[in-house]
């Protein structure tokens, strides 16, 4: 008996070992190395020099750090709420008795499938101030002369927010699954009690959907704080650092200026920023996220 237990132990460890080896070499090791690196100055050519907390002090006095924190925060604080509200609104529409269901879902979901550099280039052309399709639409539909989006300091960041909303389909899909998980009995009971559509929405849909909305909030926030491809390809941080995201500044320091120490310190700044925001959201969740399993008995 104990022999079979021992053999199961060995097999278990062996079968998990690809992950374990990978974890030690590519995650745990680099994490420790990253802490060590952030206490050094190293340009990959001269030997690394111990500098203590210098990199972190330098960070506090670097105006571009504040600029990148500001840009990243503004982006996250505008794009994520819009993403969530729009994602819920579209999901509510698609959850109605519309036909053909498959067609509408595909149309709304398709843009979120494509992403990356190709999408960034496409939107660069859409945002073109002179010949872009967006300014044409603005003129035809609203008779507005559109701005020079990506080369205008005030409009470059909003442009990236608009682009991010094109991929709202991901949230829509998750929300749709959530909506379909709400027992119809709740709505029927509310209707018998005379609740109107608005009351049913606020008293049933929103509480029942809150775990899904919370999931979208946390994931959307984490993704928004790590945005890189758009600003790298479309604006290169400009104009005048208006789209200098934290991740972009990190990339420049590490891989353009080869400041391994400062880059590592910036990576930890990003890490703790994400961690603190996530913890704050988790804290707040007990106040507004409703989990059926933890229903309080009355």
């Amino acid at each position: 008996m104990s022999l079979t237990r021992a053999r199961e132990n060995i097999t278990g460890w062996l079968m998990a070992s690809p992950w374990l080896i990978g974890f030690l070499i590519f995650t745990l090791g680099p994490m420790i190395a990253s802490v060590v690196l952030s206490l050094h100055e190293w340009d990959l050519i001269l030997p690394p020099k111990w500098v203590g907390l210098y990199q972190f002090r330098k960070m506090l006095n670097d105006p571009l750090v504040y600029q990148s924190l500001k840009v990243t925060t503004i982006y996250a604080a505008t794009s994520v709420p819009l993403y969530i509200v729009l994602g819920l609104a579209v999901a509510l529409l698609l959850n109605q008795d519309i036909k053909p269901v498959g067609f509408w879902r595909t149309v709304y979901f398709l843009p979120s499938v494509v992403s990356g550099v190709a999408v960034a280039l496409l939107w660069m052309w859409i945002f073109n101030g002179q010949f872009g399709v967006l300014n044409w639409l603005l003129r035809v539909l609203l008779d507005i002369k559109g701005p020079n989006w990506l080369v205008d300091e005030r409009w470059a960041l909003p442009a990236l927010v608009i682009m991010s909303l094109w991929g709202v389909g991901g949230a829509v899909l998750i929300n749709l699954a959530g909506l379909q998980g709400i027992p119809t009995g709740l709505y029927e009971a509310a209707e018998i009690d005379g609740a109107n559509a608005g009351q049913r929405f606020w008293a049933i849909t929103i509480p029942m959907m809150s775990p899904v909305l919370f999931f979208n909030l946390v994931n959307g926030m984490i993704a928004a704080l790590q945005v890189f491809t758009g600003p790298y390809v479309m604006t290169n941080g400009g104009p005048n650092n208006a789209t200098l995201f934290l991740m972009l500044y990190l990339y420049w320091n590490a891989f353009s200026y080869f400041r391994m120490g400062y880059g590592s310190a910036l990576a930890w700044l990003l890490f703790f920023y994400i961690l603190i925001l996530t913890l704050l959201m988790l804290r707040s969740s007990s106040a507004w996220v409703y989990y059926e399993g933890s229903l309080r008995r009355r």
Binding site: R5, E8, T11, G12, W13, M15, A16, P18, W19, I21, G22, F23, F26, T27, P30, A33, S34, L37, L93, Q96, D97, I98, W104, T106, V107, Y108, P111, V113, V114, V117, A118, V119, L121, L122, W123, W125, I126, Q130, F131, V133, W136, R139, I174, A177, V212, F215, Q226, F228, T229, Y232, V233, Y251, A254, F255, M260, G263, A267, W268, L270, F271
Partner: protein, 300 residues
């Protein structure tokens, strides 16, 4: 007595029901209208891309834009694919090799590891599974710089190894999680029966678990394809030589045209062809796609 009450209610309900049905039609019409407008805005970028990709250089810079290209320049596609400074075929092949390697690696490694976490009892399993879950939350930026230094020391820069080997060794924690959760839904009685027939863990994995896991395998394949096809930061850091570049990295350089204004018609051709595999896979594997996203969203 009771019967008459029911009848009475029914009659009283009948009149408002008609107006309610009428209102339902109006609501539906509004919903369709909103959906059409939304779909219009979502599809415009695609239409704009296709339209531009078929224009001649002269009519690209026109305002208001002409939507129907005249003449239709199918030759743009041939020219964009045969440019001497932009070997599209090579970039496509590189991307395919990396993506394919990652897909195979994920399927083999993540399913083995997932099986171990789901089906075998070993000391330290639950603690290590918590570690898997917590690495899901870890932003990749923290390990990015030391990994680069490690691969540089190993001489792996400008090879595909930094992009494939870490994926083979343990894959992404998310995939392991997905596999484990799926394996947990397979009845344990099957394992027990196989054990009585003399099967060891490895043959239970190969003969029972894997054949029953096609849905989760398909989901993992679709997602791995999507992530690696679109991946930009990794290839950007590790691949600097043109002969080794992926589509994404090469595309990001393409916008700097050697002479004159940006060649938007070629750029749109290449962007379109880069997106095409994703769109095709989406149409063929929509089910697995949706399953994966829903799974991560609702249960994750």
């Amino acid at each position: 007595m009771q019967v008459s009450t029911v009848r009475g209610t029914r009659r009283a309900v009948w009149a408002p029901l008609q107006s309610r049905r009428y209102r339902r039609y109006i609501t539906l019409a509004v919903i369709y209208a909103v959906l059409v407008v939304g779909a219009f805005f979502l599809m415009i970028p695609f239409a704009w891309m296709v339209s531009t990709s078929l224009k001649d250089p002269g009519s690209i810079f026109a305002f208001p834009p002409k939507w129907i290209p005249n003449p239709v320049m199918w030759s743009n596609y041939i020219e964009a694919l045969t440019m001497p400074d932009y070997p599209f075929g090579l970039f496509f092949r590189n991307t395919l090799i990396i993506t394919g390697g990652c897909m195979v690696g994920q399927l083999v490694a993540a399913s083995l590891v997932g099986y171990s976490f789901a089906r075998l009892r070993w000391v330290g399993r639950d603690v290590l599974f918590l570690v898997v879950l917590s690495t899901m939350m870890l932003p990749p930026q923290v390990t990015m710089i030391p990994r680069f230094i490690l691969f540089r020391e190993l001489g792996w820069i400008n090879t595909f190894k930094p992009l494939i080997i870490p994926v083979i060794l343990g894959g992404s924690p998310f995939t392991i999680f997905l596999m484990r959760q799926f394996f947990l839904t397979i009845p344990l009685e099957l394992d027990e029966a196989a054990k009585i027939d003399g099967c060891g863990p490895l043959s239970i994995y190969a003969r029972i678990i894997l054949p029953l896991s096609r849905p989760v395998m398909a989901t993992v394949m679709v997602f791995t394809f999507l992530w690696n096809w679109n991946d930009f930061v990794g290839p950007l850091i590790y691949l600097n030589e043109r002969e080794k570049m992926t589509l994404a990295v090469a595309l990001s350089l393409f916008k700097y045209s050697p002479e004159g204004p940006t060649r938007w018609h070629y750029l749109m051709v290449v962007s379109l062809l880069t997106m095409a595999p994703l769109i095709i896979i989406f149409f063929f594997a929509q089910r697995y796609f949706v399953q994966g996203i829903v799974f991560t969203g609702v249960k994750g």
